[in-house]
Amino acid sequence: MHISDGIIDTNVCIAAGVVSIGLVYLSGRNTSVEEIPRMGMMGAALFVASLIHFPLAGTSMHLGLFGIAGIILGKRSFPPVFAALLFQSLIFQHGGLVTLGVNSINMGAGAFAGWMIWKTKFINENIRALLAGFLGIIVPMLLMILEFRVSGYGRGILYLFSVYLLLAAIEGVITLGAVRFIRRVKPGLLP
C-alpha cells in the first residue's frame, strides 16, 4: 500500500507533496487543544497497526485502519495519517520520503471516505462501519492505480492490486468489530 521512492513519476510526487501540505493546513485548521491528544493517539495507533504483519494471498500485509481513523477523527484525520506515514517512512522505510505526499493523499482519502460514510446517519451503524473499513482501503487502492497508470504502467498493474480487495474486506470486518466494541465500552470516542 505504501509507494517507495523511485517507483512512480517524480513530478506526480512533488505535486502531491505540495497538495498534501495544503491538506494538512486545511484539515488541521482551528484545531483546539482538546482535539490534539486524540489526533496524536490515532497517529500512533495507525503506526502500531502497520507494525503487525500477517500473511495474505502470498504476501505480507498489515492493517491500515484508515476507516477507523476517519470515523473517530472526521475532518481531522489527515494530519495524523500524514504523521503516521512519516514515522513509517523514517523508522522502517515503509513508503519513501519523496512519495510521502502521494502516500498520505492516498490513505488520507481512505480516511475521508470512511468519514463521509460514517456521516450518513440514515444507514444502519453496522453497515456504515463495515463500509468505512472497506472504503478505507479501496479508495487508496483506486488512487494508486491511477498514479501507476499516469507513471506509465500498463493496465496489467490491476492484477497486482487485486489482493487489496481481500484486505479491504478484512478491514471492513475489523472496523465493524472495533466500532461495536467502542460503542459498548467507550461510546464517547464515536462522534
Binding site: H2, I21, A44, L160, V185, L189
Partner: protein, 258 residues
C-alpha cells in the same frame, strides 16, 4: 520498560552521525530527489550513483548486514512493482515478440535501482540519528506545526501502546495454556480494542500533564542544534557531486560511446 526497536545504531560515531539532523535530513531528501527523478530507463548513471551511496553508507559505519536486513522488509514490494513495469503491459496488450519490450525492461531495472538507492539513503539517514532528533530537526525546518506536535506526541504514545500490549499479553497468557482454545480472532480482537481504548484514555491524562506544565503547542528543547560551516560545506559538496553526475551523464555517454 525498555524499547530497542529504534535508535539501534544511532550511538555510533562517524562523520555522518555528527552531521546536524537538519542538514542530514535535507541532504538525504535532495539526494533522493535527484536520483529518483533521473530519466527512466537510464541505467548508465547508476554506475556512479551506486558507488557514491556505497561510500556514504561505509563512512556511516552502519553494518551492511543491518542495512540489508532493513531493506528486506520492503524488498518484495519494490521488486514486484519494478517487475510489473514490463509485465503490466504484456499482461493486457496483444502478443508482441518479447524482444520488443526491451525499453520496458530497462525502465523496470531503473525503477528497481532508483528505489533501492533511495531506500539505502533513507536507512542511513534514520540509523545515524536518534529518531527524536530527526523530528526535532524537521520541526526546526518548519514542518507544519500541527504535524510537529502530533509526531512528538506519537513518539511517546507509541511506547505507551507498546507497554499496554506487553502488559495485557502477560495477563492474557497467565489465564491460557500457552495456546488459545477459543476463537483467536475474538480474543485478539477484544484485546486490541481494549488496548486501543485504554491507550486513548492514558493519552488524555498524559496530555493533561503537559498542559499543566504550560504546554501551548511549542516544544521547547534544551538541546541546541548548532550548524557548523564545515558540515554545510560537506553536505553541499555531496549534493553538487550527485547533481553533477546527473547533469554530466549525457555528455559522458556521448563521449564514451560515439
Amino acid at each position: 520498560m525498555k524499547h530497542s526497536f529504534i535508535d539501534k545504531y544511532s550511538d555510533l560515531d562517524s562523520p555522518v552521525h555528527r552531521l546536524d539532523p537538519r542538514i542530514k535530513t535535507l541532504t538525504a531528501l535532495c539526494l533522493i530527489l535527484i536520483i529518483v527523478s533521473e530519466t527512466r530507463g537510464e541505467l548508465f548513471p547508476f554506475l556512479f550513483y551506486i558507488p557514491v551511496i556505497g561510500v556514504i553508507a561505509a563512512v556511516s559505519r552502519i553494518p551492511w548486514g543491518y542495512i540489508m536486513k532493513r531493506c528486506l522488509v520492503v524488498a518484495p514490494f519494490i521488486l514486484l512493482t519494478a517487475l510489473f513495469y514490463p509485465l503490466s503491459g504484456m499482461l493486457t496488450s496483444d502478443f508482441r515478440s518479447l524482444g520488443s519490450y526491451n525499453h520496458e525492461y530497462m525502465v523496470g531495472i531503473s525503477i528497481f535501482l532508483k528505489a533501492y538507492s533511495a531506500l539505502i539513503l533513507l536507512i542511513v539517514l534514520t540509523s545515524t540519528e536518534k529518531f527524536h532528533n530527526i523530528l526535532l530537526g524537521l520541526r526546526k525546518l518548519k514542518m507544519p506545526k500541527l504535524i510537529g506536535i502530533i509526531s512528538a506526541l506519537m513518539y511517546r504514545y507509541v511506547f505507551l501502546i507498546h507497554d499496554e500490549i506487553l502488559r495485557t499479553n502477560m495477563a492474557r497468557d497467565s489465564r491460557t495454556t500457552g495456546k488459545l482454545k477459543m476463537s483467536r480472532l475474538k480474543v485478539y480482537g477484544n484485546q486490541s480494542a481494549m488496548v486501543f481504548v485504554r491507550s486513548f484514555e492514558r493519552s488524555q491524562t498524559l496530555y493533561n500533564s503537559m498542559l499543566s506544565r504550560g504546554f501551548n503547542g511549542e516544544f521547547p528543547s534544551m538541546s541546541r542544534l548548532s550548524l557548523k560551516g564545515k558540515e554545510l560545506l560537506f553536505a553541499g559538496a555531496l549534493i553538487m557531486l550527485v547533481l553533477a553526475i546527473r547533469l554530466a551523464n549525457q555528455n559522458i555517454q556521448n563521449y564514451l560511446f560515439n
